[in-house]
């Protein structure tokens, strides 16, 4: 081969492509809630390698662009910048641009104008996030303990590093120049080092060719960790090199750090001193105050609590916390006003003041409630952000051109919801691409644009969150669904369901109108799981579809799990709450309409369907029912089953705050929680499916 560079170039393209693929795979597998540091290192290394190799082979454009990605990733892997879904999206775009660069470079073409522009824009965006870590375009999510915005400037990577380096034993025999190494290190900033000679053997056992030296080094520098690692490149093996960032500006360093700088105490001595500190448990055991087993048990409990509190961290935008602090300030003022007013409560003026203050208190408590709930809220974009790529990939695999549009990504949802919605939404979006969208040819034939559109929309209205997946595909086939439902016995023969009822059948377990199970959908979660998850969150699903025009699936969710839309009812002298999401309707009927079957089971015929009647008064053991001749029934549905619950009075519809019975009392079958009503009384919240199970069980026992 006449030109070794040409040979290397081919290898470079292959390697760089592989590296880009690995970057993408790593990015997509990242769990943003708990990012693995090793993954960040992998990402960084990949970008670093592409950059280095591109430079060698005369592709400065690729090198300089990858350099931007690399320097974006550097603070991320050092924990100084959060890996957000926005950032992930940007880096994914970057990976695509690298691929495009490689493709064009391979064919000796320049990068097309359009992609040049995209690249410029991307570089600007990458830098934006860097300069203002706490004011990203999306709602700024910063760790509560993070230093206040602006305190860390763009290129400042902490204040430096604390390094522990144990030279490999064969360093001399390998011709390693340790002096040179320290000189290179000192070039990076201000260095202070403490040799650790504790590993030196006694003189008569010492082989002068062996190296037994170790150092503790404190390096104050603005250089990134990568530069420090590079100095140690040939002598780092496994765990003989540990580099840690010095505490960031604003954080208070431990005493040992001050002693290092002020009194020149070596880190090895500090470690030794720290090792002499005995754990509390050990001291207590030595004092004979406690048994070792008890300490072990206590430690276990502590560890458990620690993992629990770690697992349930929520990142909160600082602005939300600021607002809460302000609000508490206002409350204090209101409290002072009330105190003042109560002193002159007999006067006309005092009463006026009191009323004004109470009005203010009302507004403030309501706002406080909303804002405290808001702490649990995270933008829906955390789920949405994965879809553009998924839709793109799916479309490519299936040979369909699909465009995904998104709206309302900033809509906020309870954190628990986000986690539980990932699978259902993924399934629905996949379904839309896979089953909803027609092939290109059939779209053309029906006069539609060849590019299909899927719209993801999130919004919040009137105490509910709406998430919509709308496609302009083939729509649901009414006849096919009806036929299938009749075949499977899901609908009784001769039924004439409304469109709405019919469409909802696609969420029945084991219901699929697509004969062949495709590779993409039809695996993992099914539509019934989608419904289950949505219901578990206290929400419901609506389907609108028109043959040939498209399908819209709408998830309607409550704002938060802690508050429930309830229907309050009276049974005997007690008040109970039905979750409104499971109530279909309520109606009055005469006792004569209720028929008894199998001895003691009661059913009522409603529009041709027999529905079991549940006497709540009997089931909840509130005494026997008096026969009034008429009954008030609430028709409820849960997990696909319906029941008519007999109550004495409908009191009204209201939002209630859910208190867990388990934490305050114990688990009770048929009851999902409790709430405190306006008059201070406690009302139990009914668990509809639990009640149905209870009723079925009771009947079996009696039978």
């Amino acid at each position: 081969m006449s030109d070794p560079m040409a040979q290397f170039r081919t290898a470079f393209f292959e390697e760089a492509t592989e590296l880009a693929d690995s970057m993408e795979a790593t990015l997509l597998s990242l769990d943003l809630q708990a990012v693995e540091v090793e993954d960040l290192h992998t990402l960084f290394r990949a970008a670093h390698s592409i950059k280095g190799n591109a430079g060698t082979f005369g592709f400065p454009a690729i090198a300089s662009f990858t350099h931007q990605l690399e320097s974006t990733l550097e603070p991320v892997r050092q924990g100084q910048r959060a890996m957000t879904s926005d950032l992930r999206e940007l880096i994914l775009q970057g990976v695509d641009l690298i691929r495009s660069h490689l493709h064009h470079a391979r064919h000796d073409e320049p990068l097309p104008e359009k992609e040049q522009q995209a690249q410029t824009l991307l570089v600007v965006k990458l830098k934006e996030g860097k300069d203002a870590p706490a004011a990203a375009p999306a709602p700024a999510a910063v760790e509560v303990k993070a230093p206040p915005a602006g305190s860390s400037s763009a290129h400042r990577a902490g204040t430096g590093f604390s390094i522990r380096f144990e030279a490999p034993q064969d360093a001399f025999r390998r011709g390693v120049n340790l002096e040179r190494l320290f000189r290179d290190l000192a070039k990076l900033g201000t260095m202070r080092s403490w040799p650790d000679l504790s590993h030196l053997p006694v003189l008569d056992r010492l082989d002068p060719e062996d190296c037994h030296l170790a150092w503790d080094i404190r390096l104050e520098t603005a250089h990134p960790m990568m530069d420090v690692e590079e100095v140690f490149e040939f002598v780092a093996e496994g765990d003989n090199l540990r580099i840690q960032s010095l505490p960031a500006e604003g954080a208070v360093p431990p005493l040992g750090d001050y002693l290092q700088v002020e009194a020149n105490v070596s880190p090895a001595d500090i470690r030794e001193a720290l090792a002499k500190q005995k754990p509390l448990g050990e001291i207590l055991v030595d004092m004979g105050k406690v048994k070792p087993e008890a300490v072990g048990k206590a430690l276990e409990q502590q560890a458990k609590k620690r993992t629990q509190s770690e697992a349930s961290t929520v990142r909160v935008a600082t602005e939300k916390i600021d607002r809460l602090v302000n609000l508490v300030g206002e409350l204090v003022i209101t409290q002072a006003m009330l105190a003042q007013a109560s002193l002159q409560s007999n006067s006309m003026q005092g009463e006026e003041q009191m009323n004004a203050a109470l009005l203010q208190l009302d507004r403030q408590t309501r706002e406080l409630q909303e804002r405290v709930m808001g702490i649990r809220m995270v933008p829906v974009d955390m789920v949405f952000s994965r879809f553009p790529r998924m839709v793109h990939e799916l479309g490519r695999q299936l040979g369909k051109d699909v465009e995904l549009t998104m709206e309302g990504q900033a809509t906020e949802l309870d954190k628990t919801f986000i986690e539980m919605l990932v699978d259902p939404l993924t399934h629905l979006v996949r379904n839309s691409v896979d089953h909803g969208m027609e092939e290109k040819e059939s779209r053309l034939q029906s006069g539609k644009p060849t590019i299909g559109t899927i719209a993801l929309r999130a919004s919040s209205r009137g105490g509910h969150i709406y998430i919509e997946i709308k496609d302009d595909g083939r729509g649901l086939n009414r006849d096919k669904i009806l036929q299938k439902a009749l075949d499977r016995g899901i609908l009784p023969p001769g039924s004439h369901p409304s469109d709405e009822e019919l469409h909802l059948l696609i969420f029945e377990p084991g219901f699929s109108t697509v004969e062949q199970v495709s590779d993409l959908s039809g695996r993992g979660v099914g539509m019934d799981v989608v419904r289950q998850n949505v219901r578990a969150l206290g929400g419901r699903i609506e389907v609108e579809s028109q043959m040939g025009k498209g399908t819209t699936i709408r998830l309607v969710l409550p704002l938060t799990l802690a508050i429930l839309d309830g229907l309050t009812v009276r049974v005997a002298d007690e008040t109970y709450v039905f979750p409104l999401a499971s109530v279909l309707e309520s109606f009055q009927c005469n006792d004569a309409d209720v028929q008894t079957v199998k001895g003691d089971r009661e059913v009522i015929s409603l529009r041709g369907e027999f529905i079991p009647v549940v006497r709540l008064q009997r089931l909840l053991a509130l005494g026997s029912c008096q026969n009034t001749g008429r009954a008030l029934l609430v028709l409820v549905e849960s997990e696909g089953r319906r029941a008519a619950m007999a109550v004495d009075e409908l009191l009204g519809q209201q939002q209630v705050v859910i208190k867990s019975l388990e934490t305050h009392y114990k688990r009770v079958e048929g009851i999902s929680g409790a709430t405190i009503l306006g008059d201070g009384r406690v009302a139990l919240i009914l668990d509809v499916s639990g009640l149905m199970r209870l009723e079925a069980g009771a009947a079996t026992v009696e039978a």
Binding site: N53, R173, N177
Partner: protein, 120 residues
């Protein structure tokens, strides 16, 4: 007197590139086409550094490093190995044989000088 570096590679183009780069940075350079030739050329040159390729006819780079380390003259001389891929196993093999460090191919002239300056 400027430091003298021995470069060992069977590809003459590669050797030329390395020699050119090192000479332009004011190093003296001696060349050898494989391990056997290197062992003949090296003694008595007061070498400051040896850079060797791994895959070579007659004697490969790893064997060369072992043979050099066995000679008192080269016991502590820095030796860099040219590894063809960023393969960790080759780096380890080089280290075990006694090499000081490595340069991952492909590399730019700047990278070559950077690594050379790290070990001399």
């Amino acid at each position: 007197m400027s430091p003298c570096i021995l470069t060992v590679d069977d590809s003459s183009t590669m050797r030329q590139m390395i020699t050119f780069t090192l000479k332009s940075a004011n190093f003296e350079v001696v060349e050898a086409g494989d391990g056997v030739e290197a062992l003949e050329v090296a003694p008595g040159k007061k070498l400051s550094l040896i850079i060797t390729d791994v895959n070579m006819p007659r004697m490969d780079g790893i064997t060369l490093v072992q043979r050099l380390r066995a000679l008192p003259e080269f016991k502590f001389t820095p030796i860099l190995v040219l590894t063809t891929e960023s393969d960790a196993s080759m780096k380890m093999k080089g280290k075990e044989a006694g090499a000081t460090g490595w340069i991952v191919k492909p590399f730019s002239p700047e990278k070559l000088l950077e690594v050379v300056n790290k070990v001399i």
